[in-house]
């Protein structure tokens, strides 16, 4: 097990490098010249040129990349063109709200999805099954921004139940909890469907497997069959799915953060790319990618713990 962890962690290094390289390259080919942006609209060509020079933008690209790498390794992500604050600091304040939003979304969406999926699978063909399938399919088919706007329109405006204007405080305060409710319902809402349908499929698959049939034949109590055998084995694809969907969730988070003015990394990243805030965009991509790699690692390890075949290997 320990070896597995070390192995998996080592494998992440080239991935990280690739992420850095792609992030760097992508922003290299952007037609907007960072020096022009930094210089401002009234700058003369000479001023722009001197800024280019001082930023090292005239150096060979490989050199620029190495320079970037060495700075990143020292924890220096540069300064935002727009606010002139260190990127690390901007990201530091934005990562908390994003993690909060993700956790608040997953914490209810995943258990609910697993529950609904399991129910549906065990009662295959029943009205419950149909309802869950219909609901989950409807859920995955819903454009997220529309879902969010509908929530704002009804829950927020017409019924005036919950706020929707950004983060009012940390999660453990009443204001904080109230302010995260609608964003978390929006982002979690698009997640219940995929989890429920995948759970249902996975449980059904396992329920049809030989060892379940054997267990049943041996007269093992049905609830025990479902939980001990079916659900446990079904958790593997579910965990994979949740891991896989972190990118999807981040995408959803970008839209959710935009609609609800939630001060997270997603909103920051989009804003940075749109406003050609070169260092901030690079930093945000790096942070998003690293968090993905970490989650991916955790998923792999959980997978290994759940699946005895991999654990032994």
């Amino acid at each position: 097990m320990g070896r597995h962890i070390v192995h998996r962690s080592l494998i992440s290094i080239p991935v990280l490098f690739g992420v850095l390289a792609i992030g760097f390259m992508l922003l290299q080919v952007i037609p907007t010249d960072p020096a022009t942006v930094l210089a401002g609209p009234t700058a003369s060509p000479q001023e722009i040129e001197s800024i280019r020079e001082s930023m090292g933008l005239n150096e060979p690209i490989v050199y620029q990349f190495l320079l970037y790498l060495s700075r990143v390794l020292q924890g220096d992500l540069g300064r935002s063109f727009i606010s002139n604050t260190p990127v690390a600091q901007e990201l530091g304040t934005a990562i908390g709200p994003t993690v909060e939003l993700m956790v608040a979304s997953l914490i209810w969406a995943v258990p609910l999805g697993i529950m609904l999926g399991t129910f549906a699978a065990t009662m295959r063909g029943s009205i419950v099954d149909r309802a869950v399938v219909a609901l989950s399919v409807a859920g995955v088919s819903m454009p997220i921004f529309w879902f969010g706007l509908i929530l704002i329109q009804y829950v927020g405006t017409e019924w005036n139940l919950l706020p929707y204007l950004g983060r009012a405080g940390p999660l453990w305060t009443v204001d904080g909890l109230r302010s995260i409710a609608l964003p978390a319902i929006t982002l979690g809402g698009i997640f219940v469907g995929p989890v429920a349908r995948m759970t249902r499929t996975a449980v059904l698959e396992v329920l049809g497997a030989d060892y379940v049939r054997t267990a049943r034949a041996k007269g093992v109590y049905e609830g025990r069959v479902v939980i001990r055998h079916a659900l446990r084995n079904a958790l593997i694809p579910i965990v994979t799915l949740v891991g896989l969907q972190v990118g999807f969730l981040l995408g959803g988070a970008v839209v959710t953060e935009t609609i609800f003015a939630w001060p997270g990394v997603g909103r920051l990243a989009v804003g940075a790319i749109i406003s050609s805030d070169f260092p901030l965009a690079q930093g945000a991509i790096l942070v998003l990618a690293i968090s993905f790699i970490v989650v991916n690692l955790i998923v792999d390890l959980t997978y290994a713990m759940l699946d005895p075949r991999i654990r032994k290997a």
Partner: protein
């Protein structure tokens, strides 16, 4: 039972009162659409910057609601020499910065000097042709010009003239206006989270507000400027009172808010903010004046004003509002009236022949118009509607919408045929100086209008010693630039402010589109 109920109600009431007493602090939430890049009056022209500068800082003179009358600010009085070159300001006593530092004439001098010396300083023309500023004593400032500049006092009400604490500038360097800002305004900058919010707190002891406000001192403890980019969210947040005050309300919601019992809507009585589409006249396809006139005739401003702006904006047939100081009443606006048939005829005449795809061509080149615009629902709807008008005369208008933070850089690169822009101004001279001076190419003179006669008239108007003389010169100039059809004027926009039930209705001010101006109108009911 009744008794219990009554006791219960009494208890609740008492609790509410107690809570009210304990919660004496008033916080006002203001919603805005976008943030700015930095809160530095000398290197940002953005309205978002001005909004905070007016509240966190002060100018020597201020502008009344009518946008014509100059009132005292940090200066309690002033005199102008006969040759129009020397302005002497008597400054108020007992004024302090938020940091506690006393305000003196040296601060005023240092502020303007820093602006004019700053390599990234913007719109320095607003300072006039400065010769030298001198602090005669702690409370007397001499503002000396090389040539007369009859607009100086109007310009001195603008946010670029905000007095800053130069010690802080020297201390913070690049971080000035980002990490902190020290001004003498009614509110102090407490914190700024870029793209999220700006928190201002009451400036304790402030009592030198301009006379056109009921209160010379701030009436609320905290003002939170919250960035809410989504239009629909802003509307909803006003309805639910999550936002107390905002001027960023789409036009379609105005009638609804006017009818709402607990929301007041105030319209600025004088407000000069004009939406136009400018031509870059050095581009081949729009270098011909005939083509520009024809494209102007193709656009139906009235339909735009009535449908896109819901009848709340005024269709524009001139580059500046007819209500502004020095507007030429006799201006010929026939170039800007809607007449698609004449437009088609003029384009035919200019050699642009209709192609098989409905787009005109000349010398094998299509009549395409690459157009830059700011991203946003209203702008997009307006440009799309214009696009439809243009198609009817065989012009292919290609719209590129860009975010407010990136478009300035793109505009500076000058790779467009047309650009959509809206701009604030205090007077005719202000508007024309900004856009038509040849030395202001390529920014903000994005049309690349370069004309010796224009420059001469501008100089003449600026140094005119009487209002009449200035108006006469500016009238000639207005005729010249309107005849050349370098812009398509669209609408003169109104400014509305909505106030929720917590506050007394705020009266909208038209200055630079920053409707709350000093924020002294914010007061609990």
């Amino acid at each position: 039972m009744k008794n219990t109920a009554a006791t219960g109600i009494a208890a609740v009431l008492a609790a509410t009162l107690l809570a009210g007493a304990a919660q004496a602090e008033t916080t006002v939430v203001v919603a805005r659409q976008i943030d700015t890049d930095r809160y530095d009056p000398h290197i940002s022209t953005a309205r978002s910057t001005a909004e905070i500068m007016f509240m966190a800082g002060d100018t020597l003179v201020t502008l009344d609601y009518d946008m014509k009358t100059i009132r005292p600010g940090l200066a309690e009085s002033w005199t102008v020499s006969d040759d129009g070159k020397t302005y002497t300001f008597k400054l108020k006593q007992g004024v302090t910065f938020c940091s506690g530092k006393p305000f003196t004439a040296a601060d005023a001098k240092a502020s303007i000097d820093r602006w004019l010396a700053h390599p990234k300083g913007v719109t320095k023309g607003r300072a006039g042709p400065v010769d030298e500023l001198t602090a005669i004593d702690d409370h007397t400032l001499e503002y000396k010009l090389k040539d007369p500049y009859s607009e100086l006092l109007y310009q001195m009400t603008q946010h670029n003239h905000t007095i800053i604490n130069i010690d802080q500038v020297n201390e913070l360097g690049e971080d000035f206006g980002v990490k902190a800002f020290d001004g003498t305004g009614p509110f102090c900058l407490d914190s700024w989270e870029p793209r999220n919010q700006v928190v201002l707190v009451k400036h304790e002891g402030y009592s030198w507000g301009p006379p056109f406000y009921d209160n010379a001192a701030p009436q609320v403890d905290k003002v939170i400027w919250k960035v809410v980019p989504e239009e629909g969210t802003r509307v909803a947040s006003v309805k639910t009172n999550q936002v107390d005050v905002t001027q960023y309300i789409p036009y379609w919601a105005i009638p609804e808010f006017r009818a709402a019992p607990n929301i007041s809507v105030s319209q600025a009585e004088a407000y000069f903010w004009t939406q136009y589409v400018g031509f870059k006249i050095t581009r081949d396809n729009v270098s011909d004046e005939k083509v520009r006139v024809a494209l102007n005739l193709a656009v139906d401003q009235k339909a735009l004003a009535e449908s896109i702006y819901f009848g709340l904006a005024e269709p524009a047939y001139s580059y500046i509002s007819p209500k502004v100081l020095d507007f030429n009443e006799k201006l010929d606006t026939s170039n800007f009236q809607y007449d698609p048939d004449k437009a088609n005829a003029m384009l035919d005449e200019a050699g642009w022949k209709l192609g098989s795809d409905g787009i005109r061509e000349k010398d094998g080149k299509k009549l395409t118009l690459r157009t830059y615009g700011f991203a946003g629902t209203l702008n997009r709807d307006m440009l799309e509607a214009m696009q439809g008008d243009m198609r009817k005369v065989g012009a292919d208008m290609q719209i590129e919408m860009h975010d407010a933070t990136v478009i300035w850089g793109l505009l500076a690169k000058q790779d467009f045929d047309m650009y959509a822009m809206s701009y604030p101004y205090v007077s005719t001279g202000d508007a024309l100086n900004l856009y038509f001076r040849s030395e202001n190419r390529p920014t903000p003179n994005r049309m690349n209008w370069a004309d010796d006669q224009t420059d001469a008239w501008l100089a003449e108007a600026n140094s005119a010693l009487t209002d009449e003389a200035r108006a006469m010169t500016l009238a000639k100039l207005q005729t010249q630039v309107h005849d050349a059809a370098v812009w398509i004027p669209i609408v003169h926009e109104p400014l509305f402010i909505t106030t929720g039930p917590k506050l007394k209705p705020v009266r909208a001010h038209g200055i630079y589109g920053a409707g709350l101006y000093k924020g002294l109108g914010l007061a609990p009911k």
